[in-house]
Symmetry: C2
Subunit: 141 residues, 2 copies
DNA sequence: GAATTATTTAGACTATATCTAACATGATAT
DNA sequence: ATATCATGTTAGATATAGTCTAAATAATTC
């Protein structure tokens, strides 16, 4: 991934390109496995410079607000994050909580009447079930 | 809501109809505003018998597992719950985290190839944006 | 380079949820 | 009915995830 492209995407959204913030963004672009904040914190600190836990959370919040990163809430587990690259849907495993990408396809929007005065920003489609790792073991129960 | 119907739906899923469990289920069927576990705990304890916090969480877990209740994870906030009555989608407010029902309509399933060996249980469609309460105040910023 | 603003930091703190192990209750068998 | 066994409840301790604070540092502007 081009470091200059990352810098530009941060600055284009009004965020300074600090070493810590860059490290979070770069890590998310290189790892598409939807890491948790704790995993990101640990990973970026294996290389210097060290980044604090608060900064990792702060930067994730800023990146989400800036629209560069998506946060995925999973029931009963830590939130997971991914860089918003190509559009895609998500599959969340009932058993292990793993979040996986699913090829994107268009989703029909609700009838305008059913939204009333709400302002719609996005439609998110989430698939649930058992991931390919958990499916076999569940079948044999 | 018919008490006997609630009892039957619990027992039909292999759950004993205890006073505490009944109270959680009945509350969810009467309140469609997607309360949190803490709100449910407080509400069912305004009437007797008293139910502990652990029991409220235990029963919510059991009811979700039994397929009678749905849990909705909201980023950065406590999970919310609703009784699975009529099928519907959800709208989640970016600003206040409120979860609201949206009239159900059919969602196209992914191409079978894109799911691989995963076992699909359900497709969940979530709308995001500003609720009718938050929309005006955001416009004037 | 001084002033201003944004960012980082450690660690305290809060919120949410789970676990433990003793006890109570309901169901089943005798 | 009484004993037995499985299921459910409880208070409080514990765990996990995430936020807050106030002081220090770094980037940007004047
Ligand atoms: Mn993703
Ligand atoms: Mn609902
Ligand atoms: Zn899985
Ligand atoms: Zn709102």
């Amino acid at each position: 991934m081009d470091p200059e492209a990352i810098r530009r995407s941060l600055e284009g959204r009004g965020l300074r390109c600090t070493a810590q913030r860059y490290a979070v963004m770069a890590f998310l672009m290189e790892h598409t496995g939807h890491p948790t904040a704790a995993e990101i914190f640990e990973a970026v600190n294996r290389a210097d410079p060290r980044s604090s836990r608060a900064t990792t959370y702060n930067n994730l919040r800023d990146l989400v607000q800036a629209g560069l990163v998506r946060e995925v809430a999973v029931e009963g587990r830590a939130a997971r994050f991914d860089a918003k690259g190509m559009r895609h849907h998500h599959f969340i495993c009932d058993r292990c909580g793993k979040v996986e990408d699913v090829e994107w396809y268009d989703v029909p929007r609700p009838a305008s009447g059913s939204l009333g005065k709400r302002i719609l920003r996005e439609c998110e489609l989430i698939f649930r079930g058992l991931c390919s790792k958990c499916a076999p073991r569940q079948a044999s129960r």
